[in-house]
Point group: C2
Chain length 322, copies 2
């Protein structure tokens, strides 16, 4: 019966369920009343594949697992609603760290207004979290990947490269001249923020296709391009790069643009008709965010990243545990 006690304890760390929830955690299924369209996404974080426990405190693992799932909802322009969290606990992980993990989840549920309505706690050979996130929108307002059209502007929110620079620092790289930015860079890797408000602002101002930048700027642009049947041409030099990324790259002998396209920043890439760009930028700025045009959609298929020298850059991010 230990599993049931642990689940009760874990759930007690989370805020009360909102009114739309008719049956909350602890039943065979949760029951929620809601109208409109529902967006559902699943995302898993697995020890040794997506993170190393030596680098990620338990709270950061819980936080990042939920944030990554919510980032998918942000990329639809959805209002986040509920989450369901399946955990696999390896031998010796212990209940204290399990509770810390849930406290990390709770920090995100509070800031994003998400109710955790269920889950499953299992033994497992390695630590894993599988998160299901459910969001909503008015009919027809949620934005997929397939709507980009030739002539659209390609924009990204926020700043890129911080997550990859943060990972280098966590792996022991020197910050070089970025000592003052090192904590902020590590936080981009450990505690990413889903761009929920920005996603809703972009959907409301006419974004035709969106994706969150988790696999890397080039790889994610390629997903949008292929789903939409267009070519996305992105000039990597126009991408906004987070403070300190250039310095960390220099200290480890890397190209800063490699970090900028490495992924895991959980910013959004959006394709917008040119006439919608000003309103979209204003709307994103009103959320406290930033929107930068980095390229355009053309006839053709697939994404291309153009470097500072006008030559093509590989699309892939880097496999951060390689």
């Amino acid at each position: 019966m230990r599993e049931f006690e642990l689940i009760r304890e874990l759930l007690s760390r989370l805020p009360d369920a909102p009114d739309r929830v008719r049956i909350g955690p602890g039943d065979d299924a949760a029951v929620v009343s809601a109208d409109g369209e529902t967006a559902v996404t699943v995302d898993a974080l697995i020890e040794g594949v997506h993170f190393r426990v030596e680098q990620f405190p338990p709270a950061a693992i819980g936080r990042k697992a939920l944030a990554a799932a919510l980032s998918d909802l942000a990329a639809m322009g959805a209002e986040p609603g509920e989450a369901y969290v399946t955990i696999g606990i390896p031998p010796g992980f212990g209940e204290a760290r399990c509770l810390e993990l849930y406290e990390g989840i709770a920090t995100v549920t509070e800031s994003a207004g998400v109710a955790v309505l269920g889950g499953d706690v299992n033994r497992s050979g390695q630590l894993l979290l599988a998160v299901t996130a459910v969001g909503r929108g008015e009919p027809g307002t949620l934005v997929g990947r397939s709507g980009a059209r030739p002539g659209d502007a390609v924009a990204v929110t926020g700043e890129l490269g911080g997550a990859a620079a943060g990972l280098l620092l966590l792996e022991g790289s020197e910050p070089g001249d970025a000592a003052a930015q090192a904590d902020a860079l590590r936080a981009r890797q450990l505690a990413p923020t889903p761009r929920l408000a920005e996603g809703k602002a972009l959907a409301a101002t006419g974004a035709r296709a969106m994706i969150d930048i988790s696999d890397g700027l080039g790889a994610d642009a390629d997903h949008v391009a292929r789903a939409s049947g267009v070519r996305l041409r992105i000039e990597i030099g126009r991408a906004p790069i987070q403070d300190g990324v250039r310095e960390v790259a220099a200290a480890s002998g890397r190209d800063p643009l490699e970090l900028a396209r490495a992924g895991e920043d959980y910013e959004l890439l959006a394709c917008l008709p040119p006439e919608a760009v000003d309103a979209a930028r204003d709307a994103v700025e009103r959320t406290g965010g930033r929107l930068t045009i980095v390229g355009e959609a053309l006839e053709g298929e697939g994404a291309e990243l153009v470097g500072l020298d006008g030559l093509m850059v590989p699309l892939g991010g880097f496999d951060h545990l390689a």
Copy 2:
């Protein structure tokens, strides 16, 4: 890019999405239009915890993972809608077995009318499946665990013990005088059937609380009893036992009632007002099922299993990989 190609191949094994699906697999999130109340459940199957790969062919693992999640929807009386499947693939598992696994999932989606709208394929130290199942019902019709009242009859669908007997056979026990039933018993363990039609019939005819019998008759009755604030008194001798279970128990020197309360049969336990029992039984029989009264709800708290001798029997199922 191998992951994306594999996902495309896996999804091609599944039927097309129904009309309510506005954005299907392959986007950041799936988008579904639906009214009423939504039931959501998550369920994980992990190698070495819930199954051994030597006993479970890949198709059976996929099939059982989805069936177990749908069984939770059956226990709400929900109409099944969509599923999302996260897979962790261990080194050396190979794509062929991965595809077999998805073919097992596809057999359930077809029989249950469920659309698989997304998922995630990851590397992992051991084989694991985490399934999210989404179902629906008219407002107020979905049945949780907490509605049982003193005086209610306690009923179970189908027959018990088959899954545990099947597991003993898979582990090498002799079938004894149950050679003719051995395949059917193994199938109860390998390919359980979620009681979806029975669950809807019970919800429609007045069931006040339901649960699926996965942890074991006593353990699951205890969940309902504690959620409802009643005592559930169950006479294990009244439980319908599947053909061949007594013989397998005899051949391995076990008590057949131990197998009957071991769990994983994925039958439903329902609490019904006495005046609803006849209509509920008729409705379940019209689905091709069977409903048997095994006990009653009383004032108090918790479940009690009463053996043939009138003495208490432990509530727990058995940990089948112990």
